[in-house]
Amino acid sequence: MSALLPLLQGAAEAAGEFAPKAVGEVFGPRALLTQAGYVAASVCFMLGLKALTKPETARRGIRLAAVGMLLAVLGTLIVAEIVEYQWILGGLLVGAAIGYPLGTRVPMTAMPQRIAIALTFGASAATMVGVAEYLHRSGAAAGAMPRAQAAALGFEVLLGCITITGSLVAFGKLHEILPGRPLTFGGQNLVNAAAMLGALALLGILVADPAAAWAFWAMAALALVIGASFVLPIGGADMPVVVSLLNSYAGLAACATGFAIGNTVLIIAGALDGASGFILSIIMSKAMNRSFANVLFGAFGGGAAAGGAKSAAGLTVKSLTAEDAAIQLGYAGKVIVVPGYGMAVAQAQHVVRELAELIEKKGGEVKYAIHPVAGRMPGHMNVLLAEANVPYDRMYEMEEINDEFSTADVALVIGANDVVNPAARSDPASPIYGMPILDADRAKSVIVMKRGMSAGFAGIENELFYADNTRMLFGDAKQTLTKLVTEVKSI
């Protein structure tokens, strides 16, 4: 190991050119060009994200951001410190060879786990740079490392390592390699809190004495453990919040790199990413009627928790056949489709669109009501429906459409459960009481497509299924919908 250290220090020295320039220092023409590239890249990122606020301009925005990335890369390739290109070229080629199919082939249903694994990649890259930087700057030849720099590097590696293992576990849960239910042991939160305090203490030691390499390595190792043990107790249904939060950490890690090596484009891009992840995780928690802390430390979202005040005892559900459902839908004036994760699992979005077109051909109107937490990540349903060629102006957000349910002939609930549970409005004893829901129960009739009578992620009984105007249509969403399409055609 001791033989490796000088080699690692070599890696660190590579980033030497990034040492913060004293204010007023004059840049050479080449460095000036690099900085111009970075400024242009920062502007592209900001304008690109701004274009993402509207579906019409969003695609232009992401391309602008890609141009920004290209400018940042080109600007870096001309810095004086880079003397050979074979490793760079190799990395770019291998990365592109892996990344391109990941971009073109991954199905839209797998977006949540794709983002989780991408966070692992991103955090690994940031952490490697941070480790190299630390070795270089704490090396005997480099002189004393300023404390601010030690703090920045420490934060970078701390956040990076937490994100690496945390995202890996999130990926495992979302991809169903690991069990989605919360994995807990007694006193887990205490142990995690103690580990986190320990890591912060090590960071403190590092800042007090930047040469304390043992503290640096111990902190990194502890952070890797924390990442895993922090995500393991969180249920699969809560992964969107976790992935958003880890996204935020990855951004902050990039930011810390920027502070450490004096690179503003890293600080700007990292701050944008950090803000985005943080805002999204808060939005998601709110839409699930949970506090942020409850999602992270509540070990909820699976298991048989939370019965609610009203149980299903004595109530019966009324089911109907595909033929009857087809007649209702075929003659409906207005249908509101409520898609949920079940639609994604069954890959049923294309058949949904086909059914909607048939209803429209018969003179009915079809709208889609999207709950903010439907699916496994924010906005997941919109992407799946868009994939099936459903125009985005037919998809409505909860506030836009809730008043319209009372004028709808049929609310067609496909694989959604908790987001249409009226207990959220009416039953103060229910764990989801107060959560904003889609008012599907206010439609003249409700057809719920579901595999069976299992409870939703939250493990709560759904009164909607027992309501007078509700009929259950059991079976796999895709098969049932295909049957419906045939039936509606024959009307």
Binding site: P6, G10, A11, A12, E17, A22, V23, L49, T53, P55, A58, R59, I62, R63, A65, A66, M69, L70, V73, T76, I82, V83, W87, I88, G90, G91, G95, L102, G103, V106, M108, A118, F121, G122, A125, M128, V129, P146, A148, N247, A250, C255, G262, N263, L266, I267, G270, A271, L272, A275, S276, G277, I279, M377, G379, N382, N389, P391, D393, M395
Partner: protein
């Protein structure tokens, strides 16, 4: 603490404000592309990785740099390509009526030329 650090903190705080203001205006229907896009943008750490990979300090340094460039490039290329592909699927109703309602799958549209490498 030098003036440089102070200026960096200014940049961080201001960028954070801009980010907060832009991102709170992104509608929920675009939240998945937003996550995907910010994920691609956070691969900006490729900037640090490139220098580590190209400075010929030692074999191990180069290998570390190579791995960091590889990981970051996966996210740059994969992230921008998939976000572009996703956004290509978002269509307005009136445009939809012409061709796509025949049920013709439009595959992965325009994936070329959007990735920076």
């Amino acid at each position: 603490m030098t003036l440089t650090y102070v200026l960096q903190i200014y940049v961080f705080v201001l960028a954070g404000f801009v980010g907060f203001n832009i991102i709170t205006r992104v509608p929920p229907r675009l939240h998945t592309p937003l996550m995907s896009a910010t994920n691609a943008i956070s691969a900006i750490s490729i900037v640090g990785a490139l220098v580590v990979a190209g400075s010929r300090y030692s074999l191990l340094a180069s290998v570390l740099g190579f791995l960091a460039v590889t990981f970051a490039t996966i996210n740059v290329v994969g992230g921008f390509v998939i976000t572009d592909r996703m956004l290509g699927m978002f269509k307005r109703g009136d445009a939809e009526k012409d061709g796509a309602s025949q049920g013709a799958p439009h595959g992965a549209p325009g994936d070329n030329g959007s990735a920076p490498r």
